[in-house]
């Protein structure tokens, strides 16, 4: 197989695995995770095979035509950016599948869970590797849908259902905004592939639609990456089982927005709008996320808010766009995926083994869970930006990017130091507080986690260490190609563990000092934050509830207005529209018939029959009692039968006579049994509009018929039947031949309709009066039982 076919296989393999996961889990139990983990391992190995090429500065594209007439293809783009993401997704995915095996051991729906996780993995991989816009959008929404399924996994709880719906509404809505943005890019450039878009940067930035496209794309990216004020769905998403939080809501999916911004940076970036909006929202998210994290005592919620803060930092760095900022963003993205994934899994282990993840109810676990403690500490050191971990390198580069002395950089540097110090405090609160101090009684007796649980976080923590120690290799394979892809031009990252005396180091030291102060005063800080938040009172999370409730009320109000439940209202609307269509269309398009020519040489008996029909019609309307109405109905029906007879349609005439007789008989039978109101008594204020509508409809149909008969007649079909009735179907009566031979199947359908109507009538008649009510009572009684 060639590389393209293998890449296609790697893209589709997770979906195949998702199909078989439930079956495998039924037979193998939680050990199915070992087998299923082979899938992400295989894709990881496949994509790692591109590393030498990518490190050499090449870009690999491939794919297949999808809808060539619309210039849409199923194609992928592998460069430093997408390769890094693909390796993170499949690498961490492997560990998450294993971790899920242990975390949900014995859960009745573990197979379903693994299936969702693998489905997500496939979607996320497709998202970052997509070259075509449409493919990116499809995978983008697929990640939203799988995220919905995973957050709502524990669908018995209302909180989980609410969180799932909220995430879907926010990220899915953002996806629609993104689609609109991509369509604008497509229209302006005529290009549907990211790999070709690069040369259209200037054109796009100078287009009058630039701002619209930018805002729409940001709408997608900011909702997905939980930027303030769209952040509220992310902490709620912690309702999902912990493997989901570690994988989707910290390491991969929430970075999709950042990925998109990085992908478009060479095309849309480097404009005043870009450099204003991104740092603004990024900094707001960074500071508010870090401050909200301090407020929490739940381990997962603390991590969720720091994730939000980190995403803000990444957006901020991407928006600054300077060479160091881009490199810092690349480094921090990888570092964050490693340490945050590990910390989430540690939080899951603590929850799983002790039954609690409330910081204030945990303590002294170091002797029971030494391995978990070590992993947590390693991840926290990286998160706090301390050597010798990868987080330190990332932070050095961040401060390098911010350490020029203009006012703008100084403001952002100050905010970043504040945010990082808060995150430092939270990191060590999570890594130290549950493990140190006196032993606290927990709902479950604490002991060390099984191998399936600690393997994942341990590997991630070790990676954070080894990437830093072998920074040269990490930069050559990952950081430099990724920075080059974000910047759109070749870049080489050189920063290493060896610190250089300068502004960055001073900022690091300041962060460390403030962080330690924050850590020591965490309880006081938390109380202050709680007070502030209580004072504000309202947040976008409550706003979401208000929005959904308002939407529902609005929908109900609209529906009640349109669906009044009154038949005469529906009828009025229908006929009014018919009249408007029939009368307005010919006027608008100049299709009114010529003045009608009422032939004077019509035989007297024909006019008489027509007059009888009209008289019958008006008698139906004016009848004072129902018997008169029924008889008059018969009169107009028989008059129509005579008209058919006069105009060469004896078959119609006979049928019409039969049917009209039957109608009158049945109608008389039914109506005499009921005590109905004898005549039509509408008040005048109803009569007038009703007759206006009726007249308009009548006029419309009359004009329509005049116009139609005034046009030349195409008799092709009639001639065909006239010609072949005898020679092919051996029948002399053309009408009968059409019905039983040429259109025999239609007639069969008609017979079926009549038969079904007959059956329906029979069952209605046999159903005794009041049995409907009794049936309803019975089913209600059954429900009570």
């Amino acid at each position: 197989m060639d590389v393209a076919a293998l890449t296609f296989l790697a893209l589709s393999l997770p979906f195949v695995a998702a199909l078989v996961a439930p079956v495998l889990t039924r037979f193998l139990g939680h050990n199915a995770a070992w087998l299923l983990a082979l899938v992400p391992v295989a894709t990881f190995v496949h994509f790692l095979g591109f590393a030498p090429e990518i490190a050499a500065g090449e870009v690999v594209t491939g794919g297949y035509a999808w809808i060539p007439s619309f210039n849409v293809s199923f194609s992928w783009l592998i460069d430093g950016l997408s390769l890094t993401f693909a390796l993170l997704i499949s690498g961490i995915g492997t560990l998450i599948v294993l971790y899920s095996g242990g975390y949900l051991k014995g859960h009745p729906h573990q197979g379903r869970f693994l299936s969702f996780i693998l489905m997500f993995m496939g979607s996320m991989q497709g998202l970052v590797l997509s070259d075509s816009f449409l493919m990116l959008f499809v995978f983008w929404e697929l990640t939203s849908i799988t995220s919905f399924l995973l957050i709502g996994f524990d669908h018995g709880r209302e909180a989980a259902r609410r969180a799932a719906l909220q995430a879907l509404v926010v990220t899915g809505g953002g996806g629609l905004s993104l689609l609109a943005g991509l369509l604008i890019l497509w229209n302006v450039s005529g290009i549907t592939q990211f790999s070709l878009l690069l040369s259209f940067g200037t054109e796009l930035r100078e287009s009058p639609f630039y701002l619209a496209a930018l805002l729409l794309v940001l709408g997608g990216a900011f909702t997905k990456s939980a930027q303030f004020p769209f952040h509220f769905w992310l902490p709620n998403a912690m309702e999902a089982p912990t493997p989901v939080s570690a994988y989707l809501h910290s390491a991969t999916m929430v970075k999709a927005g950042v990925y998109l911004l990085m992908r478009l940076n060479p095309v849309l970036g480097d404009t005043p709008e870009w450099q204003f909006l991104l740092p603004l929202f990024g900094a707001a998210t960074l500071v508010s996320g870090a401050a909200l994290a301090v407020r929490q005592t739940d381990l997962k919620l603390m991590l969720a808010y720091t994730t939000m803060a980190s995403l803000g930092l990444l957006v901020l760095l991407t928006g600054l766009g300077s060479p160091h900022a881009v490199e810092a963003a690349a480094l921090y993205l990888v570092a964050h995926a490693l340490f945050k994934g590990a910390l989430f899994m540690v939080a899951g282990i603590i929850d799983h083994e002790t039954g609690s993840r409330d910081l204030t109810r945990l303590g002294g676990l170091r002797s029971a869970m030494p391995l978990t403690f070590a992993v947590a500490l390693a991840a926290a050191l990286s998160m706090g930006g301390l050597p010798p971990f990868f987080g330190f390198i990332a932070k050095e580069e961040i401060y390098e990017a911010l350490s020029s002395f203009d006012r703008r950089s100084m403001v952002f540097a100050g905010l970043t130091v504040l945010g990082n110090a808060l995150m430092f405090a939270v990191a060590f609160a999570i890594a130290l507080k549950p493990f140190l101090g006196p032993k606290v009684e927990t709902p479950r007796h604490a002991h060390e986690a099984p191998v399936l649980l600690w393997l994942g976080p341990a590997i991630l923590a070790l990676k954070g260490l080894s990437f830093a120690l072998m920074s040269g290799l990490a930069h050559r394979v990952i950081s430099s190609p990724m920075s080059s892809a974000i910047a759109g031009e070749p870049r080489t990252v050189v920063v290493s563990l060896v610190p250089h005396i300068g502004v960055p180091l001073i900022l690091s030291a300041v962060t460390l000092l403030i962080g330690i102060v924050f850590y020591l005063n965490l309880d006081r800080l938390r109380a202050v934050m709680a007070l502030i938040l209580a004072d504000i009172g309202w947040g976008p999370d409550r706003g979401f509830d208000q929005f959904i409730r308002g939407l529902l009320r609005f929908a109900v109000a609209i529906t009640r207005r349109l669906q009044s439940g009154r038949l005469d209202v529906y009828m009025t609307v229908v006929f009014l529209l018919i009249a408007v269509v029939l009368l307005a269309t010919p006027v608008r398009y100049g299709e009114l018939p010529r003045a009608p020519f009422f032939a004077a040489d019509v035989p007297a008996h024909e006019l008489a029959i027509m007059a009888i029909a009209v008289a019958g019609l008006f008698a139906v309307v004016l009848a004072a009692d129902r018997l008169t109405a029924i008889v008059s109905l018969g009169i107009q029906g028989f008059a129509v039968a005579v008209i058919f007879l006069l105009y060469g349609a004896p078959d119609l005439s006979f049928t019409q006579f039969m049917i009209e007789t039957l109608s009158v008989v049945v109608l008389a039978l039914v109506m005499t049994r009921l005590r109905l109101s004898p005549s039509d008594h509408r008040p005048l204020r109803q009569k007038l509009p009703d007759s206006m509508i009726a007249l308009a409809c009548g006029l419309g149909f009359g004009l329509f018929l005049l116009r139609a008969t005034g046009a030349p007649f195409d008799a092709t079909l009639t001639d065909f039947y006239n010609l072949y009735s005898k020679s092919i179907a051996h029948g002399a009566n053309v009408v009968n031949v059409i019905i039983v031979d040429f259109r025999g199947t239609d007639t069969l359908g008609e017979i079926a309709v009549v038969m079904i109507t007959g059956l329906a009538i029979l069952s209605l008649v046999r159903l005794r009066a009041g049995s409907l009510k009794r049936g309803a009572d019975r089913s209600a009684a059954e429900e009570r039982v």
Binding site: E158, L165, L552, V556, R560, Q563, G565, L567, M571, T572, F575, P596, A599, L607, F618, V620, V621, L633, G637, I643, Y647, G648, A649, L652, I659, L662, S663, V670, L674, L676, S677, D680, R682, S691, I693, A694, L695, C697, G698, F701, G702, L705, L706, T709, G710, F713, Y721, N722, Y724, N733, V735, I738, I739, E750, T757, G758, L764, V765, A769, K773
Partner: protein, 125 residues
């Protein structure tokens, strides 16, 4: 001749629509019956009018030659008459049963499916 028929069809539709706009179920049914005739006449006239000569091939001839009524709309109408009758009969029985169960022939009072004071749908998640 078509002008006279257009006038007739217009009157048929006017009466049918007027009856169907009533609040009383029997009036609506009468309107449905008239509407069937109105539509049949519309199709019939649309296929052009020919007096007296039915579309029947004379003995000895292989095809229909010379002026005869248009067979195609007749075939359509033949089907339509039967279908509209079964439809009418079904509606009639339905109205009768509705009257027996609800003791009213006023459509405004037939509110089982769409009650006047319908409660709000649940507001939770």
């Amino acid at each position: 001749m078509e002008a006279w028929f257009a006038l007739l069809v217009g009157i048929f539709f006017t009466v049918a629509v007027y009856l169907m706009l009533s609040k009383f179920i029997i009036r609506v049914l009468l309107g449905v019956a008239v509407l069937g005739n109105a539509v049949n006449l519309l199709i019939f006239t649309g296929g052009r009018l020919t007096r007296d000569v039915p579309p029947v091939i004379t003995a000895g001839a292989d095809a229909l030659g010379g002026p005869a009524a248009n067979a195609l709309p007749q075939a359509l109408i033949l089907t339509a008459i039967v279908i509209s009758f079964s439809f009418f009969a079904f509606l009639l029985v339905l109205a009768w049963r509705a009257y027996e169960d609800l003791s009213t022939d006023n459509t405004d009072e037939m509110r089982v499916a769409e009650p006047v004071k319908e409660p709000m749908p649940p507001l939770g998640y």
